[in-house]
Symmetry: C2
Subunit: 456 residues, 2 copies
């Protein structure tokens, strides 16, 4: 028994280690950015007046306005006295009333049921079914948590532990480039990251031959049990077509891999010919044997989309065809961690105002504004979805040499120069892994700085 | 490595098991209560018109009003447009502005730093030092989380794992009666519960001789490493004196036990001669060798006190003299789980309005009203703090016999009868453990039903 506990401890030691080393390259940049901020506040003259940080998928920190409807409903729930004035639109007041009615004593201050407020989870599952054109969604398969990253960590943890009989350690296939936190949580669980490269030449497409190659490469080293996909992508903003998803599902089925579909950017699709189709929907369309055997976990979050409420800490995972053991464990992992307001936010995200509602016109306008982007001919693959661009930068050999001398990766060197000269903080591609010899930068496109950021 | 993961899994299996069996006695009552509610809504005639649930420490679910100051500040943070009107008091607007200033982009929608917003943790630590009359509090020892129960589980988990070399399994001393969730989390970690009985005859006092007896009783069975105390108590509403705390600290020092001090009811003290003194303060007053060796973890939460914001999910633990390994691990356990609003609520709890502030008069009035209680001569030990009474019920042998026939504990039987006859739902003492042959009930005193509840 104590050994069990020791083990938990060692897992956390690993997390500790990984969190600390996670962003060494970025850390140097962030340190310098802090210094620059200080210098600016002390009146040091620079070619810019303020520092602009476009590294993170954190729209509000970049000054993107939160959705009025969302904030009004939450404020009314926090302070119901607001509802007595008619300043708030009728649908806001009605929604707040409905949500509060699901809390004991009508207050967000009461403990919610350990697994979440049942009526909210039911509505979430109805909304998932609507998104997927009627493919049913069982509320018992929907698990809320303080963020999708937490759901992903917990799901991977349980999958890893079910693999304990295997002679090799668990492997999980991960795209390159990939959202950093995912890599750190997976490695921290002791699982091996099996990288597959997205094809920059094909708009960062996910290619099955590459999955095949990655799987082969893992042979003997680890036992791959799951395939992690991000659609729409981060940091590369591609959106998978239905056909591409079908291919991935067939591959997962053939190789008996659990599909971990990170679909947190599902509401951020703006490519002219792109459309978000969920893995769940495509799976259902494919029919048996796929639809009743392929194991799928789909993640979503209030942190992303045009809602962007990262600070509320709310997300969920929907599990399809998963081992009942995993489902059972997960249902007990999240007890009492997700705040009532995060649960309300999930409800608002999944049941936004509809045409005809008083809040609809403003909601729709803000949503369109947040999703509208202007990319002035950036030399980068077209961005179809997500919140980031990941353009390639071609650096002269002298720059690469100089970077080496300063003990930096060439793209970190590029970012450091950009920071010094323009006050704009972006992230180097090496943070997300990239093909050897290629260099990239990543930044959030929800800003007005694209002309500065064009690699020059 | 896979074995490590397996182990995490088995821990969760245990949690699963314990959560499911946790409240068998209470479950029967809750089921019947749901039926009664249904019957009432269908028009079935009963001697009461509605069901009243006074089981839980959830003031808002009992209709206790939230603190206006707290809700106004949070609403203003959620929807800053509210600040442009002068309807909100100046100190509310100022506080909201200060809090939002600590968020990237001035929005609660941004990711907070993984370990929490540094300025808030600094202010929390200053407030702890103030509470303790100047005993310093290092912000690096204060760890926020989604609730104190989470902090307690995580701390116990780490302590348990540090005991891995010992030949016997870890034991933790736990008061009887005790808050249920604590027992389930400790047992779920694979640690043994070593019960010590609070002395009902002495106002549910904690007696060192009893700690001694409990420790002796554990010999050979497990290796006790920690002592859990709840002060002020739950379900028994006693408040420890400084002298009693000194004795406990001396005992912990002598036996090398880590002190786990659950102080979530620190703001709920209303006995005429009672005063809350923190373990941390007494420890500091005692000086070396105690003050620099006794390991102490103190828990607090926005769920309790007169704030009662259980749904926000915010709490913290302060660690004193703890093994640096434990401190290190804990600092990485909570990453990204505590919402920004829960962090704001911690700030508001620990820095309430002060005399002279516009919000002070109302704040003070509501606080007094929440803490004012009327106990009409209940045949129970005087209640000095906490939110509950735990009166003893003397049941006639026929009732005990009848209970046996129906397969219930005698106090569950009592509660079931009370529910049928009055529509009032309370919890049987067997849920909290009690001395054999004694029976108790527990209910929240923040309600107006004490006359019904008087055991008859
Ligand atoms: C692909 C992806 N998944 C998950 C997350 C984390 O989301 P959450 O805030 O729900 O934990 C992010 C955040 O940037 C992300 O980019
Ligand atoms: C003694 C005690 N500690 C802790 C808690 C749990 O508090 P939290 O909501 O912070 O997890 C409770 C809740 O009833 C309690 O009574």
């Amino acid at each position: 028994m104590f050994h069990l506990a020791l083990v938990v401890c060692s897992i956390w030691v690993k997390i500790l280690t990984f969190l600390n080393i996670k962003q060494l390259e970025y850390a140097a940049l962030a340190r310098r950015a802090t210094q620059i901020q200080k210098e600016l506040s002390q009146g040091v003259r620079k070619p810019y007046k303020e520092l602009t940080d476009v590294c993170w998928g954190d729209p509000h920190s970049l000054g993107v306005k939160p959705l009025t409807f969302v904030r009004q409903v939450l404020a009314a729930c926090v302070y119901p006295e607001l509802m007595s004035s008619h300043k708030l639109p009728l649908d806001v007041r009605q929604r707040a009333q409905w949500l509060l009615g699901k809390c004991e004593g009508g207050s967000i201050g009461s403990y919610p049921a350990s697994a979440g407020i049942p009526e909210i989870i039911q509505r979430m599952s109805k909304s998932i079914a609507r998104r997927d054109g009627g493919v049913p969604c069982n509320p018992e398969n929907v698990f809320i948590s303080p963020g999708s990253q937490w759901s992903l960590t917990v799901t991977s943890l349980l999958l890893t532990s079910l693999n304990d009989e295997a002679p090799l350690r668990t492997g999980i296939l991960i795209p390159v480039p990939c959202h950093v936190t995912t890599i750190t949580s997976i490695t921290s669980l002791g699982a091996a990251v099996v990288p597959y490269f997205l094809s920059e030449e094909h708009g960062w497409a996910l290619q099955v031959e590459e999955l095949q190659r990655a799987l082969e490469s893992a042979k003997g080293g680890c036992n791959p049990i799951a395939l992690y996909v991000i659609n729409p992508g981060n940091p590369a903003g591609y959106v998978q077509s239905r056909k591409s998803i079908q291919e991935v599902i067939r591959f997962a089925s053939e190789k008996r891999l659990v599909l971990l579909a990170d679909e947190v950017y599902q509401d951020c699709v703006y490519g002219k010919n792109s459309e978000f189709v969920s893995y769940k929907k495509v799976l259902a369309e494919m029919g048996p044997p796929f639809s009743d055997t392929v194991e799928l976990a789909s993640f979503h979050s209030v942190s992303k989309g045009f809602m962007g409420e990262c600070g509320l800490r709310g997300g969920y995972v929907e599990l399809v065809n998963l081992d009942p053991n995993v489902v059972n464990y997960i249902s007990n992992l999240n007890y009492d961690t997700t705040s009532v307001l995060a649960q309300f936010a999930l409800d608002l995200m999944m049941n936004p105002p509809r045409p005809g509602d008083p809040s609809y016109p403003l909601y729709n306008q803000v949503r369109n504004a947040v999703n509208a982007i202007c990319l002035p001919g950036l030399s980068c693959q077209p961005v179809e979805g997500g919140a980031f661009v990941f353009p390639r930068v071609f650096l002269p050999p002298r720059a690469i040499q100089k970077a080496k001398e300063e003990g930096m990766q060439p793209d970190t060197f590029y970012c450091m120069r950009l920071l010094e000269e323009t006050g704009v903080l972006i992230t180097p591609g090496c943070e997300y892994r990239q093909k050897e010899g290629t260099y990239h930068i990543r930044y959030n496109i929800k800003n007005k700085l694209n002309s500065i950021l064009l690699p020059h």
